[in-house]
């Protein structure tokens, strides 16, 4: 087993875990954490691809590395924006649920059915 195999399996597992967390946790903050976990797994995919492409004296293909650095920064901005939205929602509404009961429940049928 090489590093590529070990971490490749881990990356896939992290993606699975992140997806599960993103779907099932009800709290938005936990969703954001799960998204970051998911993101780290996806970035590791790039790392593994790059590691396999080690050549010309580099242990890791520099192109995927650069893509990951860009991706990490984008993911961080997304986290910051999501957190800001969440905190503002909490400030205004006093709760952070994503389901608004008023708007979400199917309205009673006005034609009497």
């Amino acid at each position: 087993m090489s590093a590529v195999t070990v971490f490749g399996l881990y990356a896939a597992a992290a993606v699975g875990l992140g997806l599960y967390g993103l779907i099932t946790t009800p709290q938005p903050l936990r969703k954001i954490i799960a998204f970051n976990l998911l993101g780290s797994g996806v970035f590791l995919l790039f790392g593994i691809v790059g590691r396999r492409g080690a050549a010309a004296g580099f242990g890791n293909d520099p192109v995927p590395q650069a893509l990951v650095i860009t991706g990490v920064v984008v993911a961080f901005s997304a986290t910051a924006l999501a957190i800001a939205l969440l905190l503002r929602l909490f400030q205004i509404a006093g709760s952070t649920t994503l389901n608004s009961r008023a708007a979400a429940s199917p309205r009673s049928d006005p034609s009497g059915n």
Partner: protein, 590 residues
Amino acid sequence: MLPPAPALVTTAGGFLLVLSIVAPVAGVLLEFALGERYVRPVVSTVIPVGLAIAAAVLVLLPRSDGHLVYLLGAWPPPLGVALRADGLSAVMLATTAVVICAVAIFAATDFRPQSVEARTPFAFWILLLAIWGALNTIFVAGDLFTLYVALELLTFAAVPLVSLDGRAETLRAALRYLLFALLGSVFYLMGTALLYGLYGTLDIVLLSHRVSAEPGALIAAALMTSGLLAKTALFPLHLWLPPAHAGAPAAASAILSGLVVKGSFFIVVRLWFYVLPALPGFTAAQFLATLGAGAILVGSIVALRQERLKLLVAYSTLAQIGYLFLLFPLALDASGRLETGQALAGGLIQAISHATAKAAMFMAVGSIYAGLGHDRITGISGAARALPLSVMTFALAGFALMGIQPGGASLAKELLLQETARTGQWWWAGVLQVGGMFTAAYVVLVLAHALSPPDRPVALAARPPRGSGLAALALALCSLFLGLLPWEPYLPIPYALESKLFGVEALVKLLVTVLGGVALAILLSPWPHPLAGTVARRDLKTVPGPFRRACLGFGSLVERGDHVLRQWPAAGICMLAVALLLAASMFGAN
């Protein structure tokens, strides 16, 4: 070494592609740095420049063999990044420029810069230009990772637009939108990682030569497609769309509904037709179109049951997005490969027609909301007299969407119908016709309410500014006359089509659509019918009571189903299921 392929050399005029990105981005930076007082000069410089660039691309493209290429930093792919424009890019660039221009005029009063810097104008104008820059990048990017960055740029510009008014409801909508869009981008990113690992490049042209039906490539294709579908809000991945598009301010809704969802749709088209045309195959294409058909059905039925006009229009966007995805199975050739032919042209014209018409529609609804102080569909009787311009805009945009000649939608429908006949997929012809009827249904429904005489004189809360109304009207007219434009240099359209657009046969088709729409509106809308006293009474009589009740029951069932699908866990599970089913059907085809 072989001489470089034509797609890997900068062409004359390629710099226009750079400018089409740089102009809005520079506008964003200037607005941010200079602040409120200079927003007006910056915007009113950037918009004409952007329009001119789009026009120049349109002019230059046919003269340079249908392709413009620019190598950024003069580095050829795979190491460098190329920008490329073809006919599709050119028409989308132009559409975006026109819609942005109209929305900017519409918003000039709503978001008028004040002497003291205020929050909403500051954010709105920056985000408007940012969306423009992001979309232009999407249309001309020649590299899958550049497309990823552009997608994120689009999301980051679109999300704050949703929550501009700062109410809890819209904040919630924005957060849902952001989280689901991020899930979509992560899926897309997974696919790019796999593709780079297999082929060592992310350049679209190079990839299209190297790609083959290996397991990794198929999984990558499925992941990327489902991620993009989430961002496009194709049924059943639409949980974020209705609240976001209905909650945003009118000008923002126009952009979100008209343009933003087209960005990720465009990338799906790029991916399927230009990166891996041989991979998806028959089943996957049918699957996409089936989701599209589901979107038409659910979106339209739920739209007809909405009480609020903005939500109705938002749900109709959902249905129209579904309509766009019908192009995929129709573009298959005999060997199961996607052909860049008539079906693609039809789908793209439909997208353009929807972009213009839906933006106009949202602006009209925004004006009605502002004028009446509410947008309850049962309370808009008399609006046609009080706000004639807005109602007329809504009507014209609606006519364009339901396929009245010479609108873009009618041309698109004709192109797609011909392809159903050619490929023998008659079932999609039925879906296309029903889709048109449903569109007619909600347009007719709204117009019937707006045209009916009011119980008491309508008191206007505010009079919408004339400039705004005219901008929306101009956009609706654009959509209505799209069918007359010369598309041949940009999209593969047969010459002989125009004659079919007019004439008795076309008129009959239209009549059938409208009558079908009226019937659907009567059967599925739960609201008391405004014209019950006049024309529609006879119709109502002929419709047996129990039948209408059954239809309404069915509608309510669909609405409930839609509500379940819009819960977060359900939508997430749908997302994974769509990805897996796509992968399975692609594996089946190869």
